[in-house]
């Protein structure tokens, strides 16, 4: 992902601006996602992620900017590029009174598929999203997670090159989330370009190739997953378990140079300090000098959640 238009780009957003009455929802956002890349879009509620995804799908009126799909500009009245875009909103709309199979048949018809081709693809995707058993059920009778899966099947049915998913794993059970991650990795292997917005950051390194952090309508930090996490590689989180709890422990530790973010809970302490084995040994030595009996001492690398928290993004925009 990066600015400018590259050779195998599948979707490129160029200086997107979206304005609502009294709110600049998306401000001058440009990004490119190439084949096989998956961009994870993270940010607080109200950051503009959903609006950006909708603009990328061509259903959000923009004040200015352009969307290119496979190097061709997406225009409002043009239907030719639409089969290449798949978009699942956070609450996928569906005809609740219809059966799952009939709803997907309607989507297949809308994409001009023949009856046999449609039936074949419907069977395939129902199997992929684990809904084969529910094919004859009315959508209204499905749980939220299942409806999310129907939305996913609806998006992937026409086999789009660009897949845009807004909070796709909301409501999906833990086992489903594992399968969902596998599905996303599978889509990347197929050479699709994906943009996924999610609040579940712990999962993202497992399926994202890139991350973009968004706040107040702007992308404030972006890069590969490694780049984002390495930007905080100078610091490291340590978990220390003492043999016995001690009063005033946090105040005592804060006197040590370089220690930040101390959290003490009885005999367990977590804190941030410089990264690396030399620094770790210095820290351990400092603790021993203060008469602390260390039962366990472990270091944890900064993860995406820590990187996000360190980006200084407000909880709600």
């Amino acid at each position: 992902m990066g600015e400018g238009f590259q050779s195998n780009e599948l979707i490129a957003l160029d200086k997107i601006n979206v304005v609502f009455p009294r709110l600049f929802a998306v401000r001058n956002v440009s990004l490119t996602v190439r084949a096989g890349e998956l961009l994870g879009l993270v940010g607080p509620n109200g950051a503009g992620k959903t609006t950006l995804l909708r603009a990328a799908a061509g259903i959000q009126p923009m004040l200015s900017g352009s969307v290119r799909i496979m190097r061709r500009r997406l225009l409002g009245n043009e239907t030719e590029l639409l089969p290449h875009i798949g978009f699942t909103p956070d609450i996928p709309p569906a005809y609740n009174a219809m059966q799952v199979r009939d709803f997907l048949r309607f989507i297949a018809m809308g994409h001009g598929m023949s009856h046999s081709e449609g039936a074949e693809r419907i069977g395939f995707w129902l199997d992929k999203v684990w809904l084969t058993d529910k094919a004859g059920h009315k959508i209204a009778s499905l749980s939220r997670g299942m409806r999310q899966r129907v939305g996913l099947a609806r998006t992937l049915l026409p086999n789009p090159a660009v897949v845009l998913l807004d909070e796709p794993s909301g409501g999906i059970d833990p086992a489903g989330r594992v399968q969902f991650r596998e599905l996303l990795c599978d889509l990347r292997r197929q050479g699709k370009a994906l943009i996924v917005s999610s609040h579940i950051l712990s999962d993202m390194p497992q399926y994202c190739s890139h991350i973009a952090m968004m706040t107040k309508g702007q992308i404030v930090k972006s890069g590969t997953v490694e780049q984002i996490m390495e930007s905080d590689a100078l610091r490291c989180r340590y978990k220390i378990v003492l043999a016995a709890a001690r009063l005033g422990l946090a105040d005592d530790l804060s006197a040590i140079d370089g220690i930040t973010a101390i959290e003490a809970n009885h005999a367990t302490i977590t804190l941030e300090y410089f990264n690396g084995t030399d620094h770790a040994s210095v820290l351990l030595e400092s603790l021993m000098k203060r008469g602390l009996r260390v039962a366990s001492f472990t270091s944890e690398q900064m993860d995406l959640e820590a990187a996000y928290l360190r980006a200084g993004i407000n909880q709600v925009d």
Binding site: P21, L63, L82, F87, G110, H111
Partner: protein
């Protein structure tokens, strides 16, 4: 075309949602039972024993067709669209390679598959009844055709309304159309364009036509105008389906609508004997009054192209300020729209009442129309620039209805009776554009100077405020508030 209707995904979905084949068969069965037992069999008996009453069953079929095409059809279409818009299904549809025309046809035919099948069955069975009764079958078929054409027009308008107006706008349009259709005979003499559009449902209706009582020329004119208006609304609905950001009517489409209204009014006034039947009862409004009222409605319609062109220009300017490379052509100027609409409204006089009109009247009408349109245009611009969302329609209601209401209030407070009749009330009323138009056309002796001066003053006032509040080119655009 058949591909657009028969293989239409949106149509198919809405047909399924409305019960599908199973419900269709149920309805057809019930229809067959009712027509056989209550209409065809009694009709055969009547024909056998009282030939003078032949064809009485045909009125049942025509009434049934009117119910299906003019009420059920538009409401089902409007409901389908409103529901899809509300539940965001339209956004899902927009991601499918379905053209705007295909979508609108889907919404027109899908939810109406059962009513349309029943309509076809009614035409078929009605034709059999007509043949058995000795009525000329093509007359019955033409009457049915006129009904379905009018139903198509209403359906397209309802579809446009459902996309353009939130909260079941299309359904309200049908509800509003019902009393107009039902009272077309009363409204027609004042608004001849309504008489032209509603001819099939006025005093001598399709019911009498199937019996051979009417000349179909009026119906042909009506259908022609129906097709023209329907085409504009179809294009508008198509535009609204593809993008909620774009206005349904472009400035030129709005001007075309004004032109259609003017043409229908002119024809209705000039050839009133074709559209106002002898049996209307009561007095016909004078041609001048018809001219004034029609011009007032045209003035109301003219606000659409003027306001749309103004809004498009404002958005274009903001886009260009945000992105200097923005190369789209600048939309047509509201000034040109004001001029076009003024010319069209002025044409009504010479076309409809050429022998009675004077140059002074034309000049006064032009002044009132231009002042009124600029007043609305600058009001809208001021609200846009100051980021307030006061409706320009509300402004029109106040500017149009305020002066006569004020005169009524003064009269009620006994301020006016002490003065000579009309000394204050007439000039106050003339501040309202439609009343000024009426005075110009029908009561040239009424004092107009104050009213017209107030209207010009309002236009200048709003123009000055618009100029004073115009966005500073060096600063952020008007719609660019701070984030967060």
């Amino acid at each position: 075309m058949s591909q657009l209707i028969l293989d239409n995904a949106i149509g198919w979905a809405h047909f399924q949602l409305r019960g599908g084949r199973k419900l269709l068969i149920w309805f057809l069965t019930i229809f067959a039972i009712i027509t056989m037992s209550l209409v065809l069999a009694p009709a055969a008996l009547v024909n056998a024993f009282a030939p003078g009453l032949q064809g009485f069953g045909l009125n049942f079929f025509l009434g049934f067709e009117i119910f299906l095409c003019l009420l059920v059809g538009p409401i089902l279409t409007a409901h389908a669209i409103s529901t899809d818009v509300k539940e965001r299904m339209v956004e899902s549809h927009r991601l499918m390679p379905v053209s705007g025309s295909e979508a609108i046809l889907g919404y027109a035919f899908g939810p109406n598959a059962i009513p349309l099948t029943l309509f076809a069955a009614s035409v078929l069975v009605g034709s059999i009844d007509a043949a058995l009764s000795g009525v000329i079958v093509p007359r019955f078929v033409i009457a049915s055709f006129i009904i379905v054409c009018f139903g198509a027009l209403l359906t397209v308008i309802a579809a446009y309304g459902a996309f353009a107006v939130k909260r079941s706008g299309g359904i309200w349009i049908v509800v509003a159309a019902a009393p107009i259709l039902g009272n077309a005979t009363s409204i027609g003499p004042f608004l001849p364009a309504v008489a032209v559009f509603c001819t099939p449902f006025m005093r001598k209706t399709v019911f009498s036509m199937q019996a051979g009582a009417d000349e179909p020329v009026a119906y042909l004119v009506s259908e022609l105008f129906g097709v023209l208006a329907g085409t504009l609304f179809f294009i508008g609905a198509r535009r609204r389906y593809r993008s909620t950001d774009e206005p349904g009517f472009t400035p030129w489409m709005g001007t075309a609508m004004v032109g259609i209204w003017i043409a229908a009014s002119a024809i209705g006034i000039r050839w009133s004997n074709l559209f106002f039947w002898q049996s209307v009862g009561g007095e016909q409004a004078s041609r001048n009054a018809q001219w004034a009222v029609s011009a007032s409605v045209a003035l109301f319609f003219s606000a659409t192209p003027v306001l749309v062109s103004g809004r498009l220009r404002q958005m274009h300017d903001i886009r260009r300020r945000l992105n200097p490379d923005f190369a789209e052509k600048r939309p047509v100027s509201p000034f040109i729209m004001v001029m076009c609409c003024t010319v069209l409204i002025l044409l009504l006089g010479p076309l409809a009442v050429s022998d009675q009109i004077t140059l002074q009247q034309l000049l006064l009408i032009a002044t009132v129309v231009v002042a009124s349109l600029f007043s609305v245009r600058y009001w809208e611009r001021v609200t846009f620039q100051t980021r307030r969302r006061y409706s320009s329609a509300l402004y029109r209601y106040v500017a149009w209805g305020g002066p006569p209401l004020l005169a009524l209030l003064l009269e009620w407070l006994h301020v006016l009776p002490s003065m000579p009749e009309g000394l204050l009330a007439d000039p106050i009323c003339a501040c309202s554009p439609p009343i000024a138009l009426y005075d110009i056309a029908c009561a040239p002796g009424n004092p107009l100077f104050l009213g017209i001066a107030v209207q010009i003053g309002l236009a200048l006032l709003w123009g000055a405020i618009a100029y004073a509040t115009r966005p500073n080119r060096q600063k952020k655009p008007a719609t660019q508030p701070d984030a967060g």
